[in-house]
Each structure stands twice: as C-alpha cells, then as structure tokens.
Amino acid sequence: MNSFITTDELLLIAPEISMVILATLVIILDLVIKNKSILNFVASFGLLVPIALSFNLLDGTSQFAFAGALRVDYFGVFFKIITLFATLITILISEKYSKKFDDYQGEYYALILISASGMMLLASSVEFITIYIALELSALPLAALITFIRIRSSAESGIKFMVLSALSSAILLYGMVLVYGFTGTTYIEDLSQIINRSLINSELTFGGGALLLGVILITCGFAFKISSAPFHMWAPDVYEGAPTPITAFLSVASKAAGFAVILRIVYSSFSNEQIGMDWSVLIATLSAISMTLGNLIAIQQTNIKRLFAYSTIAQAGYIMVGLAALSSLDGGQDNAGPAGILFYLFGYLLTNFAAFTVITLVSINTNSDSISSYSGLLKRSRLLTLIMTISMISLIGLPPSVGFMAKIYIFGSAMDTGLQWLAIFGVLNSVVSAFYYLKIVKIMLIDENENSEKIQLTTNMSLAGLSCVFGIVILGIFPGSIIEVAHRAVESII
C-alpha cells in the first residue's frame, strides 16, 4: 500500500479540509474582530465552499484514499451533504441564540464546524481506526458545545453526554479489537469477506463467538449514536440541557452519521442471507421497542426539547425499520430498505430543522422551553406557526409532506421483505405520535396567551425555516428525484 499522501487523495477529503480551515478562520476572526455578528455570516457563507466541493465529488465514482481507509463514493458524499446542510441550518438558526455566549461565539461556530467535519469523515470511513477517530472528532466538540450555556443544566447535560459517549466508544473499541484480533483486519470490506468465507466453508458463523461478540459490541456502540433503544437514555437529558441549535444538530447530523457507518457495516457484513435473517429479527425488535417507547413517553412530556428527544428516539425506530428490511433479504426489491433510510434521513433533516427553527426562536423570546409557551403562537408570528405546523404534519406522516412519503417508503420496504408485523407496528406508532404532535398544533393555533408580543424573525432564521418547509412540501409531492439519488447512493457501496 502506498504510504505517501498524494494530491488526489487530498482532493478527496477537500470538503473536510475546507471545514477545518473555515473553523480556524472563524477562530482567528474572533480574535481580531470586535463585531461578533460577522462570525455567523462568515461561518454560514464559508460553508458554501465545502458544499460546493462535496457536490463536485458527486460524480458517481468510488475512490479510495489513505491506504483504503476512506472510501469516497456516492453514499459517503450523500451523507456529507446531509451533514453540511444540517450544519448550515444550525449556524443560521444560531444567529440570535449565540448572543448568549458573549465572547465565545467564535469557538461556538468553530466547534460546530469541527464536529461536522468529523461526521463527514465518518460517512466515508471504511476502516475501524478511521471510524474511531472520526467518531471522537465529532463527539468531543459536541460535548463542549452541549456545555456552552452557563447554567447548571447545561453542564450536567454535558457530563452525561461525555460519559455516555466515552462509554459507548469504549464498548465500540472493545468490539473493534476483538474483530481485529480474530480476523487480522480492520477493514469493513475484508471483514465481510471473512464472514462470507466462514459461511461457505461451513465453519462456525462469524468464525466463532468472539468475532460475533465483537460485531455485537460495535453495533451497540453505534446504537448509542443513533439513540435507539435500549441505548436511548441519554437523549432526553442531553437534549434538554443543550443549547437549542445544538439539540437540533445532535438529533439530525449526529444520527445521520451514525446511520451511515451502521449501514456500511451491516451492508457489507450481514448481506449474507443466512446471517441476515438473524440480524433482521434483532434489529426489527429493537426498532419496534424504540418507536413504541419513544412515542409513549413523548405523550407525557411538557418540555418541548424533551418531547423532541423522545420523538427522535421514535424516529430512530422508524429508520431502523429500513435497516431490518435490509438484512432480512427475503426476496425484497433491490435496496428499498437502505434507500428508504437515506430518504427518511433527508426528510428528517428538513422536518426537524423546520421545527427547531421555531423552537429556537420561541425559546429566545420566552426564555422557556415548556410546551405551554407555544400557546397563541399564531397571534405572535404567523410564519413560525406555519413552519411548525407543516413540520408537525410531516412528523406525523400526513400528506403532502416528505415525512409521509418517507414513512410509506420505509414501511413498504419492510412489507416487501416479509416484515409485515413491523410495518403494522410502525403505522400504529404513527397514530400514537399524532397525539402529541397535534397537541402542539392545537396549542399554537387555538390556545390563548396573554403575551401577544410579536416575535421578530431575522432574515437568516426565516431563510432556514422557509427553505426547510419548502423542501418538505416539494419532496412530499415530488419525491422521485431524492428516491433515485438514495438508490444510487446505496448501489455505490456494494
């Protein structure tokens, strides 16, 4: 293997490099410039560079870099773009919020950018050491960001996130080491070959219990990332204490990156029919538990961020339906499950950020995250009410929204692979979720509030919110293009 870094390889990670450069630039500007509001502008406009560079990589070819540690393919770039959009919107909606951080605004934006660069790296890593480093690169800045507000709850959230993310990465590492020790490889692709070979030679599946344990530990490690049951306990506390834009970032970008790696591992390692079936049952069970638990607990919440934390656990459950559909391979249509995951994640990106645009603004205005502070929102800002309502419609999964299409697509993939019971579970859960999402709509539109002071939107905020809403509706009516892109992305990792 080539031990020198070539220019071509650098070009392949140009988006990540430009992110880090942008982060550095923001920090330097923070030092020299007194007017901090320019930082938001620089960070958001600067993001156009990595976005452009990523689209430039979207040429359909798969290239390896750094001795095969990174695989820059359509799939990876798709996730990079999801992460970049998430970062962009996070920064846009941070505009007013970051005023809370006084002198630390530069660090705030820089940390977001660095964490995002870790997630982008994660999306194209195909080797365990790289995965581990990218994971930590994304998690450590997040822990700092969660602690950013100078109140006790924020610090508590931070330490909880920190401990649990360290714990999950220790478990992940232990799994990786077992896999390395028993197969002598750290590459996902080799791993799949070894597993397949052991199946063909009718040795023990996975070549023994230790390897199986390793793979299970790795999966557990990532289950933390995507906040799926039974590793979901951290989400509500962390979401509640974190700065609101960071909560949004956590719930979308961090989750997407986790799914990217899981998809890569599952797709290459368990695509064999024999093991696929076993894993399918396991993942389907976790998915059913996740959505039921998330939805049932969300009903009782009175804090909007906690509600969204549980809703995000439920959403993770829905997305895992696609994962289960992937592994079961029971005569299913080509790649509907994993493509559904990509489609769903993209829709979730738009939907959740639309909601969090509103949540951020309301929390700045009322200094409260309780659901009752949304009463009479219609009188205070029509635009915000519109954004939130459409986002809720999409989260329930009613037309015409991307949530509806994505849900049907992902449940369809489950039906197709013989997981009818999971599809039924999923649709029933959507009914349950309608309770608490509609409750928010009702509070906004109908309840009265003595505080009828108008909420002012900044250009950035309305840009972020409206573009999300626009995306939700357009993709809800014409989802064809994104489905095709998702299928292309999935085909590129085979």
């Binding site: 039906m415 009818q420 539109l445």
Partner: protein, 501 residues
C-alpha cells in the same frame, strides 16, 4: 396504458386547493366570501361538467383520464399520476362539487373577523382533497388524498367548532388515522403482491398474483379504514362528537361527502378487488349493517341535541349501505349494490340539507337543545320547510330520493338475508318516529315569545336550500339519472360477484 392528459380532473382537484390558498392573499376581508363563492361555483361547474361528460359519453372504463407515469421512478416504486372517472365515481364528484358550494353558503353567517380567510381556505382544500379521493385511480394517490382530507377537517372542527371541539377534532383524527394505518398496510401488501397501484388493473392482477399476505387479511386491513369512515358500528363513536361540535359547513361536508369516501372505498376496493372475500364476509356486513340501522335509530330517538340527532341518524342510514353491500353474496347483488350507491348519494344531499337547515336555525336561536325550541315554523317558515322536506326524505317518503335508495336496498338484500332485512325494516319505522317527533317538537307546538324577533332565511341562505330540495325531489322522481350511471360503473363488480354466486 399510454400517458395522456385531459386536465379536467387535475384542475378539479387543484383549483380549489390553489384557490383556497390564494384567499390568504386577498387583503380585504369583505371580498373573501365573494371569492370563496366564486371558487366554489367554478368548482361546481367543473364537477357538473365531469358528471355530464360521464353521463353522455360514459363507457365501461374510466373517462377523462389524466395519466402520467413519470411522477415517480416507476422501476423503484410503481406510482402513477392516474386520475379518471367512471360510473361509480362521477356521481360522487358531482356530490362533492354541490356540497362544497353549499358548505360555502352554509358559512354565510360567519362574521368577518372570525378567521374567515382560513375558514374558506380549509373548506376549499378539503373539497379538492375529496375530489382527489373520488377521482384517483392509483391506489397510492387515493391514499394520499384520503389522508390529506384530515388536516383541513381537523382545523375546521377545532377552530370554528363549538362545545368540546378539541376533543372531537382529535378523536376524529385519531380514529381516521388508525383506520388508515391499517389501510396503508393493506395498500402496501397489495402493491408488493402485484407490483401495481393501478386500481383498474388491480382486480385482475390480484386474482392471479401470489399474495404476500392472505387475501382475507388484505381485505380486512383495507376495509377497516373504510369502516371507520363510513362509520360501521363499533368504530362509529367519533362521528356523533365530530358532527355535533363541527361548524355547519364542516358538518355538511363531513356527513355529506366524507362518509361517502368510506362507502366508495368499499365499492372501489373491497368489492371490486376482493369479490371472493366480500362473498365470504357478507354475513358480517349484513349483521353490522343491521346493528348500525337499529342501534343508530334507537340512540337517535333519545337525542335532545338537533345536530347529535342527525349525526346518529347518519349512523343508522349508513347501515343501509352496508346492508346493500351484503347482498353481494346472493341473487340480489345487482340491485343491492346499486341501491347502496344510491343511498350514499341521496344521503349526501339529504343530510346536507338537514345540517344546513339546523345550522341556520342555530345561527338564529343559538341553541340546538330540542326542549328549548318550539314553534319555529311560524317565524322561520322557509327554514322549517327545508328541514321538513329533508326529514321526510330521510324517513324515505316516496317521491323523494331517500325512498328510492332504501327500497332498492331492501329488494336486493331480502333475497340473500331475509331475516336481517326484516329486522332492518323496523329501522324505517324508528326513523319515521324520530324524524317526525323532532319536527313536531322543534318546529310546531306553541310558539315561544323569545323567538318573535327571528327573521327567516336570507337570499344567501335560501339558495343552497332550494338547490338541495330540487336535487332530492328530482332524484326521487327521476332516479335513473344516477342509478343508470351507477349500474354502468358497477357492472364489472357485479358480474364478478355473480360469477362467484
């Protein structure tokens, strides 16, 4: 099938939706009603054109087809943009156009500062969505419109309703979503068995396809969604609440059109795609239909709220639809199913008129509690006449459309289910009881002093009442206007069922 576009149906669906949204842009509130009526009238003309086109040019298959298969990547998910009307759907499109316009008139008394823009916006969007349900020939699109209709209805009830409006609106939404959740699984099951959403081709494909879920399960999954909407006995509890608390316009749409979506779905999906299962489960339909009729009627008698009374009478009347459908397993299949369709259409106009008159009366008296009303006929003779005509049609007086529908259903069902039909016939007696009693208590008897100041219907209120009365009596005298069309559209279903018998 080749891609083609006649645009009429597409316009009929999206014109009210876009028109409704554009109401938000009109700055002067005084013009909102005028524009809403304008949009409603245009939509009514479009729907009438669709009906007349089918009436004159009707063939066995769908006409006015809009088909575009490039909407989705069909190799991945075979969804088409496929609209068309045939004999089954054309009358319902007309009904939607008619009641849509009438529901706009029903909001005549809504004051300008009561969120009037949104009110008409949601009404028009609702109308577009319902036209979408009736004209979609792609199962996926059908499902989209089926769900789309929920959002406007939720807002209509929970913002402009009365009483426990939030509770009722939520109950309505949860029940319907629950039903459609099962339906979705059924739809996906059908799709992955046949690789097609095409409702015209599906009956044929399903007969030969290798199903991933047993056909009887698919049948039950889909019919649950329709049963909630119709509503069928154990799933009917949302209906009285929703109707009672909804504003008049929403009640008219809900009772007049939305319930028919359930019956239409049973015809379009359950009867045409699963004839064997319908045959097999017909006894359940007959049983539930009878329960609906009798239970609904008994409950109705003891209602004291005018709207609630009409709501429960809807439950009773929708039982007739089920009874008609249950004739599928016997010799009376042709008459029974045609009767069921007729009943849906006529019930739409009759209940529309009932809710409309009651809504206008409520606007004046501010009470719907029957013991508080008395002798209204002397102050508001026009409204009272409307209510009486609707009531008489509702109890099935000859020369009104209600009579035709019920008599055909009995004729059809009696051949297969003589006992159930005989029991159901008592429902008619009960209906006569509650309707006449209601009319007597609220319109006649001694005149109350507090109602002396009441004025009779204004021009804007008279118009919808007159239109509905004409349609009720017109169909009562010339039933063949719609019954011929229904028989034409139902022909393939009926011949399928007859083949099984």
């Amino acid at each position: 099938m080749v891609d083609q576009f006649n645009w009429i149906l597409t316009i009929a669906i999206f014109f009210p939706i876009i028109g409704g949204i554009s109401l938000l842009l009109i700055p002067q509130k005084e013009y909102i009603k005028i524009f809403a009526i304008l949009f409603g009238t245009i939509e009514f003309i479009l729907c009438s054109y669709i009906f007349l086109f089918q009436f004159t040019n009707g063939i066995g298959g769908p006409v006015l087809v809009d088909l575009n298969s490039t909407w989705f990547p069909t190799n991945i998910f075979n969804v088409q943009y496929y609209l068309g009307v045939d004999g089954i759907s054309a009358p319902f499109v007309l009904l939607t156009g008619l009641l849509g316009l009438i529901s706009i008139f029903a909001s005549w008394n809504l004051s300008n500062d009561h969120r009037i823009r949104e009110h008409f916006m949601w009404l028009l969007i609702l109308q577009g969505a319902v036209v979408g349900v009736f004209t979609s020939l792609d199962f996926f699109m059908f499902f989209i419109f089926w769900e789309l209709e929920l959002i406007p209805m939720y807002f209509l009830i929970s913002i402009w309703g009365s009483g426990r409006k939030h509770y009722s609106a939520m109950k309505f939404v949860i029940f319907t979503i629950l039903g459609s959740a099962f339906m979705l699984v059924g739809v996906l099951g059908i799709y992955f068995s046949t690789d097609s959403f095409n409702m015209i081709e599906l009956p044929e494909k399903l007969a030969t396809a290798k199903l991933i879920i047993p056909a009887s399960v698919l049948f039950l999954l889909t019919i649950i969604g329709f049963a909630v909407k119709l509503p069928v006995f154990p799933l009917h509890t949302w209906l009285p609440d929703a109707h009672t608390d909804a504003p008049t316009a929403a009640s008219v749409m809900l009772a007049g059109v939305l319930l028919k979506m359930g019956g239409y779905g049973m015809l379009r999906v359950s009867a045409s795609m699963f004839p064997n299962e319908l045959h097999q489960f017909a006894w359940i339909l007959a049983l539930l239909g009878t329960i609906n009729i009798i239970y609904g009627a008994v409950i109705t008698i003891r209602q004291t709220d005018l709207k609630r009374l009409i709501a429960y009478s809807s439950v009773s009347h929708m039982g007739f639809v089920l009874l008609g459908l249950s004739a599928a397993s016997g010799a009376g299949v042709s008459i029974g199913i045609t009767g069921a369709s007729m009943q849906m259409f006529t019930h739409g106009t009759i209940t529309g008129l009932l809710f409309l008159s009651i809504g206008f009366i409520y606007d004046r008296t501010h009470t719907r509690y029957i013991p508080d009303l008395s002798g209204l006929a002397q102050n508001t003779p026009f409204l009272a006449t409307g209510l009486i005509i609707a009531g008489l049609a509702s109890l099935g007086l000859p020369a009104t459309s209600g009579f035709i529908a019920e008599i055909t259903i009995f004729l059809g069902a009696f051949q297969t289910w003589p006992i159930f039909t005989t029991i159901s016939a008592f429902g008619v007696v009960l209906t006569a009881g509650y309707v006449l009693w209601m009319i007597q208590r609220s319109l006649f008897q001694h005149k109350l002093e507090k109602f002396n100041t009441l004025t009779d219907a204004s021009i804007g209120e008279m118009f919808p009442i007159i239109v509905l009365v004409i349609s009720i009596i017109g169909i009562g005298i010339f039933p063949s206007i719609i019954s011929d069309m229904f028989s034409l559209g139902l022909q393939p279903i009926i011949s399928n069922l007859q083949a099984i018998n």
